[in-house]
């Protein structure tokens, strides 16, 4: 049964090798953004078929989670989408809190700090996406500019949590620590510094005619195809649908914050092309900055730090959710990040955990999008999908 699918695959490759050319892109190709192998069946410069091979970075997240307590798994969730670790642990922690029924007891200050660090991390993730997309297309400078600005965020998050990328900062029922003294002021300085830098970046990359020529009308993803393939996040919004779980579910403090949902409008070409997807990320950085400013306003006024505030005060002593199934979803930087918990009500470890990574679903559409395109356009499409292999392979 199962061998036939494998045999069919081998036969297809063998047949293609006689007439067309089979070309391996990756696992070490610089524009695959990690260890992803794409097997291309090409006819000259035309790509006839793309067969993705994932799994080079598989680290058994789901198996690990079955033998660790909910708190111990948080560092593992950080390593899923390692470019936006805060968002991953936020979704995990909210899922456990809802199963325990303590999600309404979380102090407001904790919720706002969570949103603040998540949005900072989202900006950092989108900066990498935009910068590396530029380098894929052939623009080197934006990459350096993006990394220069991202460094400020890394520094701030390191200041708060003690780690540069894998934070383990958001805990079930609270936080690892309160924000360090002076964080809010430093963060406001960063926002004021960063806004003009985004305008510069747009002049250099987003509205650059060479960049537009390489990305507009390339890799058009129609909305119905995007939905049917389970694409979410900037992929789905790039195709023109305002679907953002921060707004749909209004989880954490997002219900009290004011922000727009940017979506693709086909300004330079067709709705859902590579330029639109990149533009959605650029616009989302602006929206994240708006959210950060609102968080800072509240964190410096009515939710000001007090000497007796303890972010660990609500930490549950024993985390044993009653027997149930729960699917928690949240908006990671790449799209809908979901955790499906199965608990038996007796033990402190989940019976089964499934992580639904947005990159996994976003990448699956690549075979559909890249039929009959040029190899150079495939690079543009891969970059615009913006996947992270840590989350794809889990």
């Amino acid at each position: 049964m199962s061998t036939t699918a494998l045999e069919r695959y081998h036969q297809k490759i063998a047949a293609a090798a006689t007439q067309d050319m089979v070309l391996n892109m990756g696992p070490q190709h610089p524009s695959t953004h990690g260890v992803l192998r794409l097997e291309l069946i090409t006819d000259g410069e035309i790509v006839k078929e793309v067969i993705p091979h994932a799994g080079y970075l598989h680290r058994c997240f789901e198996k690990h989670a079955e033998s660790l307590t909910y708190q111990q798994t948080i560092p593992f969730t950080d390593r899923l989408d390692y470019l936006s670790s805060m968002n991953n642990s936020h979704v995990w922690v909210m899922g456990v809190e809802r199963m325990l029924g303590i999600d309404k007891d979380i102090p407001k200050r904790v919720e706002y700090i969570r949103v603040l660090v998540c949005e900072l991390n989202r900006i950092a993730s989108h900066l990498i996406s935009i910068g590396t997309y530029g380098i894929d297309i052939g623009a080197f400078t934006p990459f350096l500019w993006c990394f220069r600005d991202r460094e400020h965020i890394m520094g701030m998050l390191e200041w708060a949590s003690g780690s540069r990328m894998l934070y383990n900062y958001i805990w079930i029922g609270g936080l690892f620590f309160d924000l360090p003294v002076g964080f809010e002021e430093r963060c406001r300085e960063f926002v004021d510094y960063f806004k003009p830098k985004m305008a510069e970046l747009n002049e250099l990359l987003t509205n650059n005619q060479i960049f537009i020529s390489r990305t507009a009308n390339v890799g058009v993803l129609p909305l119905d195809v995007a939905i049917n393939y389970g694409c979410t996040g900037p992929m789905l919004r790039g195709s023109g649908l305002k679907w953002d779980l921060r707004r749909i579910d209004n989880y954490s403090a997002y219900g009290e914050l004011d922000f727009d949902i940017p979506c693709g409008q086909g300004l330079m070409g067709t709705v859902g092309d590579c330029w639109d997807r990149n533009k959605v990320r650029v616009d989302e950085i602006g929206e994240s900055l708006k959210i950060i400013e609102q968080c800072l306003d509240r964190l410096q006024k009515e939710l000001k730090r007090t000497p007796d505030f303890d972010p660990r005060a609500k930490l549950p002593r024993k985390i044993t959710p009653k027997a149930q199934d729960y699917y928690m979803r949240g908006e990671g930087s790449k799209g809908e990040l979901g955790f499906y918990f199965m608990t038996d009500g007796k033990s402190e470890v989940p019976y089964r955990v499934k992580a639904r990574g947005p990159s996994f679903n976003n990448l699956s559409v690549i075979s559909e999008m890249s039929k009959g395109i040029m190899i150079a356009d495939l690079i543009a499409i891969i970059g615009s999908i913006d996947f992270v292999l840590g989350e794809l392979d889990r």
Partner: protein, 165 residues
């Protein structure tokens, strides 16, 4: 549309035997569907203008334990127009022999998302999906033995002659 409404809609459309039960104990209720009809149910839920569950959020293969000898699949559907979520479950009793896998219908014709998710469930839990276009392993190498997310999985001592420690 409410959970009960969806249940009645399915019973009206396919008969009473298609919904074999429901789980309403937790925060998210789930419908238990007869395994053979899952593809029809998903197609109906996707196309019916009253439900429009057009987005498959998650598909998980589950091993219900060494003593239970029961395998299942859990589907999390989302309706984007109505902003609804729905959980469907199918399961059946089956032996644990790795050469005789439990088999369920594939829904990759209805949702293309299911293509890779079903490959993952096959790869890690060892569930076979009938009529799947390309059921190969996806995360593990093609020559991997066993299904790691099964509860009785024993890690291999050697992989291609290399000792694992």
């Amino acid at each position: 549309m409410t959970f009960q409404g969806i249940k009645e809609l399915l019973i009206e459309r396919f008969g009473v035997e298609v919904v074999v039960g429901e789980e309403t104990g937790g925060l998210q209720p789930a419908l238990l569907i007869a395994p053979d009809r899952i593809a029809d149910v998903c197609l109906e839920l996707r196309n019916n203008p009253a439900t429009y569950f057009d987005f498959l959020a998650c598909l998980s293969g589950v091993d219900y334990g060494i003593t239970a000898n029961r395998f299942g699949v859990v589907y999390h559907l989302t309706s984007i127009p109505y902003q609804l979520q729905l959980t469907l479950k199918i399961s059946k009793e089956h032996g644990r022999d790795v050469n005789d896998l439990p088999s369920f219908p594939s829904i990759s014709e209805v949702y293309r998302t299911a293509d890779w998710h079903e490959r993952e469930a096959y790869d890690l839990v060892g569930i076979f999906f009938e009529n799947h276009p390309d059921l190969r392993r996806i995360l593990l190498p093609d020559d991997w033995e066993g299904y790691p997310l099964r509860k009785d999985y024993q890690a291999a001592e050697y992989y291609k002659g290399i000792k694992i420690d």
